[in-house]
């Protein structure tokens, strides 16, 4: 897969937010203006890329049975780092989205990526796919933030929490409608489908 293909894949065909619908909670809650959306996008990207890199680096040293606690510990550490840096250098944004930066820990986009890619593939692959996934998420977050901020000028409804369900619902419907006409078509399967070969079944069963 070339780099361009991979980029199209993570931004459009298998976008983590619009296709896999991962990380919806921060997406719904924070996308009411561009500034907050950018803040959360940067924080999520940082956490996703650095934890993928680190876990991929030490994937052979992490025992199979305690991999989830290890992943969560690493993700939580990076989230706290992002939280502290924001608190020190981006106070304005921090006051608005502090809570949503903290819950990056539970963002299933990140744990999903770490579990399905970083813990199995080499560092380069996991970092590249992590950057792609993060870009896809950031794009959706920022574009929706822009849409809602603009609609908010017409009607305050769009910036309210209820409005986010409507705006995002309609946006997802439109994206899926458009996908029917794009050459790639619709893809529901994630980028790295679980490897369910016989060997893997046995490993899971043990």
């Amino acid at each position: 897969m070339t780099l361009t293909q991979r980029l199209i894949d993570s931004l459009w065909t298998r976008n983590v937010a619009t296709t896999q619908l991962l990380g919806l909670c921060p997406l719904l809650a924070v996308s009411y203006n561009v500034k907050n959306a950018v803040g959360l996008a940067v924080a999520s990207t940082f956490v996703l890329v650095s934890s993928s890199c680190l876990i991929s680096l030490f994937r052979k040293g992490i025992p199979e049975n305690i991999r989830l606690p290890c992943f969560v510990l690493v993700i939580a550490t990076f989230t706290t780092i992002a939280h502290m840096i924001m608190q020190a250098y981006a106070w304005d944004v921090y006051q608005q989205i502090a809570l949503f930066v903290q819950i990056i820990v539970t963002n299933c986009m990140i744990l999903g990526h770490v579990e399905s890619v970083a813990s199995k593939k080499d560092v380069k692959t996991s970092v590249v796919t992590a950057i792609g996934t993060a870009l896809g998420f950031s794009l959706v977050l920022i574009v929706l933030g822009g849409i809602r901020q603009l609609l908010g000028l017409l009607t305050p409804f769009a910036t309210q929490p209820v409005g986010s369900f409507f705006v995002i619902g309609i946006a997802l419907a439109m994206i899926n409608y458009l996908k029917d006409f794009s050459p790639q078509g619709r893809t529901d399967e994630p980028l790295h489908a679980p490897d369910l070969t016989q060997q893997n079944y046995e490993r899971v069963a043990q």
Binding site: I66, L73, V74, Q87
Partner: protein, 147 residues
Amino acid sequence: MKAIATLTLLALVAGCLLALLQLFTADRVEQNQRISEEQVLAGLVESTDPEFLREQGIDLVTKEIRGYGGTMKIVVAFHAEEILGVRVLSHGETPGFSDVLDPTGWIGQFAQQSVHEVDAVSGATITTNAVIRAVKDSLREREDREP
């Protein structure tokens, strides 16, 4: 055994890293907090300079009280026997429910009426009761101080 060792080591490294970062950012964070506290108080008093406050006869009482999501830092401004207003310096309340703490909202009532007439808000009962309790505490504290 290997599992325990790995987790312990990982937790240790993570803890040390965060403690180190905390050392570097603590000063700036504190500075940011001070600035935003001053901004919050700007709507209430013209200056937080102790000299100025004494001249004007304004007394600021700071109370820390447990809210729904951790400690809230509340300031009650007194002018003689009257409450000028109540502001929240920092809190960890759930977004949306913390709207009652906005100076234009519920918390603005303290400037107009006696604390005994202010009711808690259903839906944000714990938050609003905590603020009422803090105001009552600060009133009592002043009474004790001025016999």
